[in-house]
């Protein structure tokens, strides 16, 4: 963490190399968060992730630690960028209808793991049905593994509020996945696939 503080201070004084290291560290989680929030659309996610780091670089001098990690600041910028994205370019498509082949096309790790892709597709569809705040908390907490304190800072909420949102989101997700699993199991059992979402 002290190394990161040094990097932040150097980046604040305009050190490109220091900012490059911070970029390398945080690009993937920020990109992942944005990608999942904009309907798994690669180009939109890339544009927004670019905007996030551009904004961070341009405003590095104004960053103050105030007891919160640098990641919270980046997530806050990303969160606002996603809000702006939906405000200005409200997508006309239904997130549920995005084909899983498109959604996970650029994930080499999943290329040959059909089971994983199917399970992830079920979770993706269920996740898309949650409220935006619930999606934010679930992605930050369980995908990017942020602390509640960091999530609270990024979303401008209290830690208590984050815990409540998390609890309700998981409950909702469980209900949705159970429903999905129930309907999916009948079709998938015919294909002899035992590793289906109904087990969730």
């Amino acid at each position: 963490m002290k190394d990161e503080e040094k990097l932040i201070n150097s980046a604040k004084s305009g050190d490109e190399k220091a900012f490059g290291e911070l970029y390398e560290k945080y690009l993937t989680p920020i990109y992942r968060y944005v990608f999942m929030r904009v309907g798994y659309r690669k180009h939109e996610a890339e544009d927004i992730a670019h905007q996030v780091f551009m904004s961070a670089w341009q405003n590095m001098r104004t960053y103050e630690t105030q007891g919160f990690p640098f990641s919270s600041w980046l997530y806050r910028i990303a969160h606002n960028a996603v809000i702006d994205y939906y405000r200005t370019q409200r997508p006309s498509f239904d997130l549920e209808l995005v084909n899983d082949n498109i959604a996970f096309a650029d994930i080499p790790e999943l290329e040959n793991r059909i089971d994983d892709r199917m399970q992830m597709e079920g979770v993706r569809v269920a996740l898309a049905k949650l409220e935006p705040d619930q999606q934010n908390v679930i992605i930050m907490k369980f995908v990017n593994e942020l602390e509640n304190k960091e999530i609270a800072q990024a979303l401008g909420k209290t830690e208590g509020a984050v815990r409540v949102i998390q609890h309700r989101a998981l409950k909702q997700l469980k209900t949705l996945l159970s429903a999905e699993g129930g309907s999916a199991s009948s079709g998938q059992q015919n294909e002899g696939d035992n590793n289906t979402i109904k087990e969730v």
Binding site: G14, E16, F19, G20, Y23, E24, L27, T28, Y31, R32, F35, M36, A45, E46, A49, H50, F53, M54, W57, Q58, N59, M60, R61, D106, I107, E109, L110, D116, Q119, M120, G122, V123, I138, I139, F142, V143, N144, L170, L173, K174, L177, E199, V200
Partner: protein, 158 residues
């Protein structure tokens, strides 16, 4: 519930492409971060951020002016709490009151003097009651009546 979190962890496989990673960093670094304006006058926020430096300096200047002014001035800075000062002020107050009384009395004496002058002056004798009475007794209202006038008056009134 644990199964859901396990499923969610699989989304960690999502990563940006290498091409995007390299290209976007170089594009970002081409843009210089926001700089403070290099004008003759610094921004207020920037000035305030240096307050820890100039606040003691400003306080020292004010203190120096206050002490210097006190040393140069013959009058004590807190003369209102000085007994001598208060006494002299009180004496000055009495003098002021007496001067006001004198000016009032002067005004009264002038009015009396002008009244006496008016009474003794021949030009104002017509105001004397005794003179008015004597003049009234000298008047003969019945004498010198004209019969023609009386007749004309009777005609007008009847």
């Amino acid at each position: 519930m644990k199964e859901i979190t396990t499923q969610l962890k699989k989304f960690r496989a999502i990563e940006p492409t290498g091409a995007f990673r390299d290209k976007t960093l170089s594009l970002i670094l081409q843009n210089r971060p926001h700089q403070a304006p290099s004008g003759a006058w610094p921004r207020p926020a920037r000035v305030l951020s240096w307050s820890w430096l100039w606040a003691p300096a400003l306080a020292s200047i004010i203190l120096a002016i206050t002490i210097g002014g006190r040393l140069l001035s013959a009058k004590p800075a807190f003369s209102s709490f000085n007994a001598d000062g208060l006494r002299s002020e009180f004496n000055g107050l009495e003098i002021n009151i007496e001067l006001k009384e004198i000016s009032y009395r002067q005004g009264v004496s002038q009015e009396i003097a002008s009244a006496i002058t008016e009474i003794t002056d021949n030009r104002t004798r017509h105001l004397s009651p005794s003179l008015l009475e004597s003049e009234a007794s000298n008047l003969n209202l019945d004498a010198g009546g004209s019969s023609e006038i009386d007749e004309l008056l009777n005609q007008l009134t009847l």
